[in-house]
Symmetry: C2
Subunit: 406 residues, 2 copies
């Protein structure tokens, strides 16, 4: 035990901007049904215009707009009823001057018509004659054939995760499969002689069940990744390096939750340095300083602090953006957040990102403090706030943004 560790500390902002291993996941084609929140590998363009035909947006009558000009309750326009359009079928009749064709919402506009007058402003006073009591402008009561999307225009962009309405737009265009980046496989390695699997019923003295791997797996799923629980590695020299070499063959991101003792941390740092190029050892973040980032031939490796709270905080700040980038998305989708009033002063060192767990009550954010060895600090919190790197603290009563756990 030396009490000395070599740190090359970087800020979180530096890490997000500067730590950029080149690997991206492969492209795979998935059905629309499996495409939610997946990241398109390329822009998808509309094969044809949508809706594809000029379409009524109201129940009413297709007309020539000019035939309705000046119409009012006192002086209606009278038009000959020429027929009716059926849903999902081509019109069987055209509109001529002085004529009208009955239209359902969503029906195809007949030739010769340039507007649809709403049924509310009409009456069939005599069989075969429609009385119109309000004028309609050309283009009124309808959408154009290419008003939703023009042929060849983008339906969805590359690099932005697909949302529910995007699936609808793709379906409307007849696009039923999409080329997307594969979900990043995230190998999660736990280390430490004291760590045993969660299924262990009776613990020997000093043993702890592996909490971090399960929690990390949840964060990985939330960020669109596929977690691979890669087991627990003891503190014996060489064991971690061997395991890292194995998992690097089949992972897009490797996460090591380091042992908590200084000896275990030294062993982790040595093993990581043996399999990759260390980009930083130490992040200016609290909690989470003893974080390692390394580039293993394009595959990012994230060495997390041994305490679960610190590990989860660092993974949220650094691992989640890495994960999205691996799947081709530079701007992760937004996390749920809310504004709140800070209940008390918070101190922070300039140049360091502070992540403070908070409970929310009636719009007030109350910090939850506790040793980062305790998981309950996280499970008692509703979310967290970030004291940015330049700030030296926040005053009680400040308006703060709280990122909510979901």
């Amino acid at each position: 035990m030396t009490g000395k560790e070599f740190f090359s500390v970087r800020t979180v902002a530096d890490a997000l901007a500067g730590f950029r291993p080149g690997h991206r996941t492969a492209v795979e084609v998935v059905s629309l049904f499996d495409a939610l929140h997946r990241v398109p590998a390329e822009e998808v363009r509309a094969p044809t215009a949508l809706p594809g035909f000029a379409k009524s947006t109201v129940d009413g009558f297709a007309v020539r707009a000019a035939d309705t000009y000046g119409a009012s309750d006192g002086l209606p326009s009278y038009l000959d009823l020429l027929g009716a359009v059926r849903m999902g079928a081509a019109p069987e009749v055209a509109v001529r001057s002085g004529g009208a064709v009955a239209m359902p919402t969503g029906g195809v506009l007949p030739d010769g018509a340039d507007a649809v007058v709403m049924v509310e402003y009409t009456a069939e006073t005599m069989p075969g004659t429609i009385e119109v009591t309000r004028p309609v402008a050309p283009g009124g009561g309808l959408v154009r054939a290419d008003e939703d999307v023009a042929a060849g225009a983008p339906l969805v962009a590359a690099g932005r995760p697909l949302r529910a309405p995007d699936l609808g737009m793709l379906a409307a265009a007849g696009v039923t499969s999409v080329a997307v980046h594969a979900r990043p496989r995230v190998a999660i390695i736990s280390t430490g002689d004291e760590v045993v699997p969660p299924s262990t019923v009776d613990l020997a003295a000093g043993q702890v069940r592996d909490a971090t791997a399960s929690a990390l797996a949840g964060l990985v799923v939330d960020a669109g990744g596929a977690p691979v629980i890669a087991g627990i590695v003891g503190d014996e020299p060489g064991a971690l390096k061997d395991r890292l070499t194995e998992v690097l063959a089949d992972a897009d991101l490797v996460v090591v939750s380091a042992g908590s003792s200084v000896g275990a941390r030294d062993e982790t740092a040595g093993a990581v340095a043996a399999v990759g190029s260390v980009w930083c050892h130490g992040l200016a973040i609290k909690p989470g300083k003893p974080t390692l980032l390394a580039d293993c031939g394009g595959i990012p490796l994230l060495g997390l602090p041994g305490n679960p709270l610190s590990a989860l905080v660092v993974f949220g700040q650094v691992g989640v953006p890495l994960l999205w980038r691996l799947s081709g998305c530079e701007t992760p989708p937004p996390a749920p957040s809310t504004r709140a009033r800070l209940a008390r002063d918070l101190a922070s060192a300039a140049g360091r990102l502070d992540v403070v767990q908070v409970r929310l009550r009636d719009g007030v954010a109350e910090p939850v403090f506790g040793p980062s060895a305790l998981l309950s600090v996280l499970t008692r919190a509703d979310g967290y706030l970030v004291v940015p790197e330049p700030a030296t603290g926040l005053d009680a009563g400040s308006d703060v943004e709280v990122i909510l756990y979901r």
Copy 2:
């Protein structure tokens, strides 16, 4: 075509509070790995205290705190080094007055010790003697055996979806499976003679591909449900009623995206009334007024407007809370949101909920207008804002909360 529809209009607030079909999904036991965002059917309590032993939170030396009182750089305390605790093992030595035992972070506190002094405030000046230069209080440098969770205390609550840290807490307690509510099966029926499956390559005149079902399926997945695409039903009398009867046998929630024409809407209303008790026909929401809510023997049925935009808005406001409630969660997890400045005045009728799509640029929310027949209104938006029921509008420059699409 009558132009008249019978509406019994209710507000969205009424619907959320008063429309409460009794059905809940069955309880099933899932592994921790599959439990993310699932809703526990009952509270889970800690079988034993956690961490289960008094544990060092620093690298240093276990001591009796009183032996360090008054210690300083000028006048250190000198303690006998009695041994060392190994990670994951029981201490082989106790601490006596005047003695110290070397501790790794996470090690078990030896008998007789009541604090751990950090290695930074110590030096081994002679072999076997530890010099301590700062006092430590009783309880310093350690967590108690039950400080994370006491035996029998709740690990997770019933009815609140499990978050990533909850999975960690359950793992730490050795709980590797959880009784949760089954994902609600949501049958999605599309109606209308004009509607054809998304896989249809060439459209005949007036046909449209079913966009709403795919988009709804995405919203269902986001809310923890299991979508079941239950096909397209034409406008012929009786067909929808028959299909509703079939799907009600095996669904927890039934969603019908109604035909867009008044005739199709009438047919939907009739079919729904035949299979359930109609709670409202018409919601005070824009877009989305022609919404139906019915209770079919405890199974909620949601009849959505025919336009995709209206259908998705209503599903978000009413269907999503229903879905969470079916799985035992009364308070849905928060949606991502942000504050923005409204770019222009928005008018709204008092008593009606207005949902306005917006684009965000540099903190300014710019409304996206367009006929609700257009899906592109949704895909162009970054999110939406809600003008609440009592308000008659919002002024340009107002501070608004924008719910972000994810």
